[in-house]
């Protein structure tokens, strides 16, 4: 699903440039539940931005759903994002003046789905995350966990190939974190590829595969043995 080979990325800082990603090789197959671990500055957000087509890489190859990503103009990137990717952010990033249903329906608007159809689909996904009764509430009337559920519903509504979650529990307490991770797990069980970025061990431990990133290089890439985690 996602295939990355020898990926490099640097950012210009004044006259110098900061080499953030120094040759990443990563292959994520369809249906995997992967987490990227790393402290801040390790390059994990940059990796997510590149995978999420929110930023461009300098060197190396990136294949999304078998298609090589290169020389994307903004329009093509937007269409691919809409088609293949769903985003979940740490700070939810819901539009403040739109209610839960409208927020969930927004990606469908950019996909060109008709209004009635949009609302029907959006309502199904709100129901899926257990917030059907909150459809007409504005984001500031929802709790953090509820907001993130709305955001997850929004990420899923276009039936993407991959859900990219950037610190999805970073702004939540442990109980709500738990339920959000449960939700992501459920989605993964249904066959969705889920790609989580986190710096919390116990969040990463709930995924199937942990990729550890340090100073722009992959340190380790291993499968999680669930039994072992449970005994800890």
């Amino acid at each position: 699903m996602i295939k990355i080979e020898n990926l490099h990325k640097s950012y210009p800082i004044g006259k110098d440039s900061l080499h953030v990603l120094k040759g990443i090789d990563l292959h994520i197959k369809e249906g995997e539940f992967v987490s990227i671990m790393g402290s801040s500055g390790s390059g994990k957000s940059t990796l997510l931005n590149i995978v999420g087509l929110l930023d461009e890489h300098d060197e190396g190859d990136y294949f999304l759903n078998g298609k090589k990503i290169e020389k994307l103009d903004e329009k093509k990137a937007a269409v691919l994002r809409n088609k293949f990717l769903g985003f979940v952010f740490q700070s939810f990033n819901l539009i403040a003046y739109k209610n839960a249903l409208e927020n969930v329906a927004l990606p469908l608007y950019y996909k060109g789905v008709g209004r009635k159809e949009r609302q029907k689909i959006a309502m199904e996904y709100l129901d899926k995350v257990g917030l059907k009764d909150w459809a007409t509430h504005l984001p500031n009337e929802l709790s953090g966990g509820q907001k993130q559920r709305v955001a997850i519903a929004r990420a899923l509504v276009t039936k993407p190939k991959v859900v990219l979650a950037d610190e999805p529990t970073g702004a939540l307490d442990s109980t709500t974190s738990e339920s959000v991770m449960e939700l992501l797990k459920e989605i993964n069980d249904e066959g969705m590829t889920v790609f989580v970025i986190t710096h919390e061990e116990d969040i990463a431990a709930q995924t199937d595969r942990i990729v550890r990133l340090k100073d722009g290089i992959i340190m380790s890439d291993e499968l999680v043995h669930k039994e072992k985690v449970k005994t800890l």
Partner: protein, 410 residues
């Protein structure tokens, strides 16, 4: 291309962000309000000019005589110059080519006019039929003087609308007899005159009749003439000078004598008025466009601020699959809609204010201020343009927002 979903988005954006919308709308509404008031007042000033100068043919020249002020060719100064019928023939012969018409005139003031019990005093003018053109007089009933009246020295008169009103009230004046200085005349026509009340209180009679009845001489007071209407104002001015020169030579008056024969050439005034009108138009256009530009810059500023405020939202939209074009389209359409609506509101307010105060401005030389269709059409085009310009720069800026930057910017 009408896209109901896009409009729904825009209406939601507007409805959920009222303060922002009102702020940007107010700027443009105020600019258009000022623009409308300015152009209305400008129109009013121009109406005033046109009204004042429409009273007579614009290509008229009047010539009358006075006392000489300089000795010339052995003749003393202070000599009375009297025009006679041969001066009329002289002008006709000399300037036949250039003239459109010429009429001599005798004028008598405070002539008592009586019809039955009604009696008033008016100014009487004895002229040729073509004099009607000079005054731009229009017949309301009957006819003006004709050449047969002059040849037969008929005792007939054409009277002004107000004369008819004074003497006859609502009754028909045509064919009735009135007496002027105890001589009886038949009324053959009633005219109105765009020159206003004074010009509608004249009584016109055949030139030859007056010459016979008042002194039985070949004296006359004045000439009124019009030249080829195609003349430029400079040509008209030199034509006037030429007539004056020839008449002075004929009457042995020094060419530098300003008072022997006098002339009033409308071309002189037309030139001044035209210059003033052009100046006025330029000023109004300048101020109006300045105001509009200030408005456009104002709304552009607000749009830049709005885009900044919305950068996160735009980042989210882009992450969810909004193309740069859809972002530009949304912001521009919103901007055009708000400017057009606010501008139209300003236009209506301006028209309303003009309507309200218009009639009170007469004392200040502003007559019937109003905005014409061309102003409305022009303003609408300017509004849409303004909205486009004001929306384009920030929209372009918005389209450049990188989703990552916007989303990380908490």
């Amino acid at each position: 291309m009408f896209n109901i979903d896009l409009w729904r988005e825009i209406f939601q954006n507007i409805a959920k962000n009222k303060l922002r919308t009102i702020l940007s709308g107010f700027t443009i509404a105020f600019a258009i309000l000022l623009f409308t008031l300015l152009s209305g007042i400008g129109k009013g000033l121009m109406n005033n000019f046109t009204e004042q100068f429409a009273s007579d043919a614009y290509n008229s020249i009047y010539i009358w005589s006075g006392k000489t002020s300089k000795p010339y060719k052995g003749l003393q100064s202070g000599r009375d110059i009297q025009f006679k019928n041969d001066d009329f023939r002289f002008i006709l012969d000399e300037f036949d080519e250039e003239l459109e018409m010429v009429s001599p005139r005798i004028q008598r003031y405070n002539v008592k006019a009586v019809y039955k019990a009604e009696s008033y005093r008016y100014t009487i003018r004895a002229v040729y039929p073509s004099y009607q053109v000079l005054e731009s007089a229009k017949m309301e009933a009957g006819r003006f003087l004709n050449m047969l009246d002059l040849e037969e020295r008929r005792k007939v008169v054409a009277i002004g609308r107000l004369v008819a009103q004074d003497l006859f009230g609502v009754r028909n004046a045509i064919g009735k007899s009135i007496s002027l200085d105890d001589i009886s005349y038949r009324v053959i026509g009633v005219f109105n005159d765009p020159g206003g009340d004074n010009d509608e209180r004249f009584i016109y009679m055949p030139f030859s009749t007056a010459q016979r009845l008042y002194g039985n001489t070949d004296h006359l007071d004045e000439f009124g003439l019009t030249y080829d209407p195609g003349y430029s104002s400079s040509k008209a001015l030199s034509f006037g000078t030429k007539i004056l020169k020839k008449l002075k030579a004929k009457h042995k008056i020094s060419p530098r004598d300003q008072s022997g024969i006098r002339m009033f050439n409308y071309a002189m005034r037309n030139e001044q008025v035209n210059g003033m009108m052009i100046g006025l138009n330029v000023i109004i256009l300048f101020i109006g466009i300045g105001t509009l530009i200030a408005g456009v810059i104002g709304i552009g500023n607000i749009m830049v601020y709005i885009v900044k405020e919305r950068s996160k939202e735009i980042g989210i939209r882009k992450a969810l699959g909004a193309t740069p074009r859809s972002i530009v389209g949304m912001i521009m359409q919103e901007s055009i809609f708000v400017t057009a609506l606010a501008g139209y509101f300003g236009l209506l307010m301006g028209m309303f204010v003009l309507e309200l105060i218009g009639s009170n401005l007469n004392d200040y030389g502003i007559v019937d201020p109003s905005v014409g269709t061309s102003v409305i059409v022009g303003a609408t085009i300017i509004l849409v343009l303004a909205g486009t310009i004001a929306g384009y720069v920030p929209a372009k800026q918005a389209a450049r927002i990188k989703p990552i930057e916007a989303l990380n910017d908490d």
